[in-house]
Symmetry: D2
Subunit: 132 residues, 4 copies
């Protein structure tokens, strides 16, 4: 059974990307979008939802930025290098969401979401470095 990363190797355009780093970044963005969406929904369910407002907001923003980043990276032919600015933005959204989630030590979903955000931040940074 193939996965989305396998398609990148069959793409007829020689890409400007390191395909290993590109696949990792796409996968990390998609996993982060799902994790942040679940964390937001879990925060909304918490008894202390009034204390989770910033977490919900950063989760929702991070999810939307991760989705856009994943979609654009998954279409890897060179149109321009605006992808760099988007990946930098994504790394920053992930870092801020991770910092907020890390504060909520009582919520396992926040702790797990923070780890996934940190992995996505790292994958974005690595992609930027590999394509420098």
């Amino acid at each position: 059974m193939p996965n989305a990363a396998d398609l990148l190797t069959d793409h007829p355009d020689k890409s400007t990307f390191d395909l290993h780093e590109l696949s990792r970044a796409i996968q990390a963005c998609l996993d982060c979008a799902a994790a942040c969406s679940t964390c937001a929904d879990a925060c909304i369910s918490e008894e202390g939802v009034a204390d989770m407002r910033t977490c919900i907001r950063l989760d929702l923003d991070c999810a939307d930025i991760c989705v856009a980043t994943a979609k654009i990276l998954a279409r890897p032919s060179p149109g321009s290098d605006t992808w760099r600015k988007l990946v930098e933005t994504c790394a920053r959204a992930c870092r801020e969401c991770a910092e907020e989630c890390e504060r909520h030590v009582a919520h396992k979903h926040c702790q797990q979401c923070a780890q996934i955000c940190r992995e996505c931040e790292a994958a974005c940074q690595q992609l930027l470095t590999a394509a420098a």
Copy 2:
């Protein structure tokens, strides 16, 4: 290292979903969104792009529907059961995209995309059955 599926098990609301089927469907939708995006971009690069118009269109539509479905399933608390109608729509978009991709036997990216679309269609159908 956790992944997005782990967060579902920590969600404070008892879900109406079978968590195993739910995780599989979310993951399948995200992988399908990435695969269809890459297949569309690869089709645009093909020398015979004029023969790939329908494939590009079904790829782009399938990707957008899969993203919306994944995001909504990743927020699993019961608001309504509109998710069912969306998952049915997603299964249909995946089937149509698979059927078109399967026609393009010379393009490995289409063949791989078709398999990933079929897996997403199956995961959507399975989720609907499990939550019946």
Copy 3:
């Protein structure tokens, strides 16, 4: 200054759509996506956020479905008729979100969001009827 609707009239494919109804539906979906996003964020800010959980959830789901629907309708060439099932899903999400928002009579943002959701539901239904 042109707007997005003007581009539809220049599209080289003869469309299956009534262009007036199509433009109205795209615009209604985009306005509804923005309204539901703002209503969700406003609900999160409310002192009584714990009473707004269902409203936040239906707002977020409606916004994501409206975005996908608008994007797919804005690419109007016939690939398949899955758009019908998506537009039906969108109409339903809008109706459910409107019904919930209408309950929150103290919040003007909910009352306004409900009206915009109802307009989007009507535009979706009208598009389905016009293309029958």
Copy 4:
């Protein structure tokens, strides 16, 4: 009949944004997302689709970035100032898409799309200036 901009005035949080500039930017992003989606689909239909590859790609990227930007601006409560970096990215994507569309003088959809992209770029820049 209210529109999405009206909801911003009822938002309970004092925003960091100039509401007039914020509404204009959200509306410009949504209109640009629709215009770029239609332009991409029209380019795919053109007889000379092989000459439109870069235009299709920049259209699709611009549409996805505009959607994410509109959704995040429509949830205007301060979580962080990552929105600035996203709006800068959006302005750049719009400028690049406009520059490419302007080259295709024979296609009215490209000429109209370019104007809408320029308006979105200007609205993004103005929002950044107003919130400086």
